[in-house]
């Protein structure tokens, strides 16, 4: 889970990608970064050629901030992705300028504000990053457009829970790494593509282009979902430490869903069902409609306090997700293709004739 501390706002995934390349290299047959910066690792299967391919995607990027203007040495900022400005005040950050410069996020103190202003969240234009350097020095080191990441160490809580930043989606990158490790030891007929996608938080971009490039026969996206926490949300939230969620709905191929569910049962891994009537908001949504369409599924790890620097999860859910993915992939027969229930009657009707 140390990956959560690595730096990788959307569009700035290069340094974490390099770390991941080192981590993945022992387990892969080939590895490449594509034009968008997606890391595409392939683990060759043992089935006969032409070998089908299954792609598992977890996004590498995290939400972050960007410098929009520099005023008297203070940095004006804007979000990269869905950054929640309610949680920014008082945070420590790292400004990726000519060099990495630590800073913190400040705003005017409550004493000088009107009662009305104190009741509102601070708008973007009134948030600043303060790096504690004289203006001339700041102008030398920082430019408009430089990205900023949140500094937050990993924290271990009770009962195997951990907290930190960027669990969305480093938790899934870890699960994907575990699956790669496991599959390196196991026989699998299909080629397995592990893809660390970029720019998910700004529009599923890496998933859309990498799915087109790989053109796999099946795909599984890995992401995080909402953990049950102390507020009044009831639907679409999932208890921690009760396993990953499996998506069902238009974004997911029904037979692929059934097969993954069956695998979870077989492994006695607990899981939740995540009914999703429309857009899943994950890489799965982009992958499914690549080229002529790709049967796609989604495994998600429940995480509390999404898009906050204190995202919290249960370690065991990450391990379960990796194990479930690996066993699913290892179990794919060369001839397997998900079909449709009405095709089954068609085949039955034909064999009757």
């Amino acid at each position: 889970m140390q990956l959560s501390e690595a730096v990788g706002p959307s569009g700035q995934e290069e340094s974490i990608r390099l770390q991941l390349e080192d981590l993945w290299r022992p387990f892969t047959t080939t590895m490449r970064a594509d034009a968008m910066g997606n890391l595409i690792a392939m683990q060759q299967g043992s089935g006969p050629e032409p070998r089908p391919a299954v792609m598992a995607a977890a996004h590498l990027d995290e939400i972050g901030l960007i410098v929009t203007q520099i005023e008297e040495g203070f940095l004006h900022i804007a979000p990269i992705g869905g950054t929640d400005r309610r949680v920014l005040l008082g945070l420590e950050v790292l400004v990726h300028g000519r060099e990495d410069i630590p800073g913190l996020i400040g705003t005017r103190p409550p004493h000088v504000l009107s009662a009305e202003e104190r009741q509102k969240t601070v708008p973007w234009e009134k948030l600043f990053v303060d790096v504690g350097l004289p203006a001339e020095k700041v102008n030398q080191l920082v430019h408009v457009g430089d990205p900023i990441s949140i500094r937050q160490p990993l924290l271990t809580l009770e009962n195997g829970r951990v907290a930190g930043k960027a669990f969305d989606n480093r938790a899934s990158v870890v699960a994907l790494t575990l699956a790669l490790e496991e599959l390196a030891q196991r026989e699998h007929a299909w080629d397995f593509y592990a893809v660390a996608t970029v720019q998910e938080e700004v529009g599923l971009k890496g998933a859309i282009t990498s799915a087109y490039g790989i053109n796999p026969q099946l795909a599984v996206a890995l992401d995080v979902t909402f953990g049950k926490q102390e507020d009044d949300s009831k639907i679409g939230v999932f208890e921690l430490d009760k396993g990953p969620t499996i998506g069902l709905g238009p974004n997911f191929h029904p037979q692929l869903f059934q097969r993954i569910e069956a695998t979870a049962k077989e492994l006695e891994i607990p899981y939740h069902l995540d009914p999703t009537p429309g857009a899943s908001g994950t890489d799965a949504w982009g992958i499914q409609v690549a080229r002529e369409g790709i049967p796609t599924s989604l495994l998600s790890i429940p995480v509390r306090y999404m898009h906050q620097p204190v995202e919290t999860l249960a370690r065991r859910d990450v391990e379960r997700t990796g194990r479930l993915l690996a066993t699913f992939v290892a179990g794919l027969e060369s001839s397997y293709r998900p079909g449709w229930e009405d095709e089954v009657d068609e085949t039955a009707a034909r064999s009757d004739q």
Partner: protein, 326 residues
């Protein structure tokens, strides 16, 4: 600055989906300089410059279309209701004039309203073409129209309707003449339907399948009264895109443009835009992904009928791009 050409370009009729007249005009100006010229199924005009076989395959895109309105209903009294083509703001419309393809002019005004919200809704506006009743209206439901406003030059500033993005078209036309020796395979893409969702560039980029794509479009500035923080100023040089709401520019493309600015010794600015995007956002997602970026011309009052750019920024953008493609 070829003001004659820019006047023709900005004044041509070309709302999204109906770019024929702009296309014909551009075609006339690029034909002598292009090795090949074609129009694709969505109406994009693609002018090709053949390189020496050692360069890269690069798309440069500027969109031909402009925002406008389309008649959605004609009432009994002969007033027209309309819908927007692209990002048309009701506040900009009141008192504006629009022109239809057949030359009919109309005035947009606001019906009497009881609600006191600062901005009216589009449905509270109508077009008056001077008709006395329904049968007297010369245009019908589905007819598109564009805003009317001439090009004016005042000092270094240029003011007109549709500088978004005819100024980009202008730059590409001038640029094509200057890059005749470029080693690269260059595709000058004059795209359609940008204002309604980056549509033309998306399909054109699929057909061309380039190694790199650069959009040339306008961006907003932070130099007007009480503007939100934005480090782009009119006249301080073309802006090299870092990020906008639709795209993060590929670092390689951004660096190429920065290096070119230094080489050409032209001033430049870096751009982070909160709202809005360009054709590059669509081209980026083509096939397995195309490294994409954008060069922006700082522009005040975008999507109003009086957009304002600086002619030095325009000249510097041409120099910058010529250096990048040399």
């Amino acid at each position: 600055m070829n003001l004659g050409l820019l006047t023709q370009l900005t004044q041509a009729f070309g709302p999204s989906g109906y770019e024929d007249k702009v296309r014909a005009l551009i075609q006339e100006h690029v034909a002598p300089w292009a090795d090949e010229l074609r129009t694709d199924p969505l109406g994009n005009l693609i002018a090709y410059h053949r390189g020496n076989g050692k360069g890269q395959k690069i798309v440069l895109a500027a969109h031909m279309d402009e925002i406008g309105v389309m008649v959605s209903h004609v009432d009994k009294e002969g007033y027209l209701r309309f819908t927007r083509i692209g990002g048309v703001y009701p506040l900009h419309c009141i008192g504006s004039r629009v022109r239809f393809a057949d030359g009919t002019h109309g005035v947009i005004y606001l019906e009497h309203r009881e609600d006191t919200s600062p901005s009216p809704k589009l449905t509270q506006l109508y077009i008056d073409v001077g008709a006395t009743n329904k049968d007297d209206v010369p245009v019908s439901v589905g007819a598109p129209a564009v805003f009317v406003r001439p090009l004016v030059q005042q000092g270094e500033r240029l003011i007109s309707k549709a500088l978004d993005d005819r100024i980009g078209c202008y730059i590409l036309i001038e640029l094509l003449q200057q890059v005749q020796d470029s080693p690269h395979d260059l595709y000058f893409l004059f795209s359609t339907q940008e204002e309604v969702g980056l549509r033309g560039a998306r399909t054109a980029a699929f057909s061309i399948n380039p190694d790199m794509a650069i959009a040339v479009d306008v961006t907003i500035t932070g130099d007007t009264p009480k503007a939100l923080p934005m480090a782009v100023t009119l006249g301080d040089g073309p802006a090299i895109k870092v990020q906008d709401s639709g795209m993060i520019a590929h670092p390689k493309v951004r660096q190429l443009l920065v290096d070119a600015a230094r080489k050409a010794k032209v001033p430049y600015q870096l751009e982070v835009l909160r709202g809005g995007t360009t054709d590059a956002a669509a081209m980026q997602l083509t096939r397995a992904g195309i490294p994409s970026g954008a060069l922006s011309i700082p522009c005040r009052y975008i999507h109003s009928p009086s957009e304002m750019v600086d002619s030095e920024d325009v000249a510097n953008a041409i120099k910058l791009l010529a250096a990048a493609l040399a």
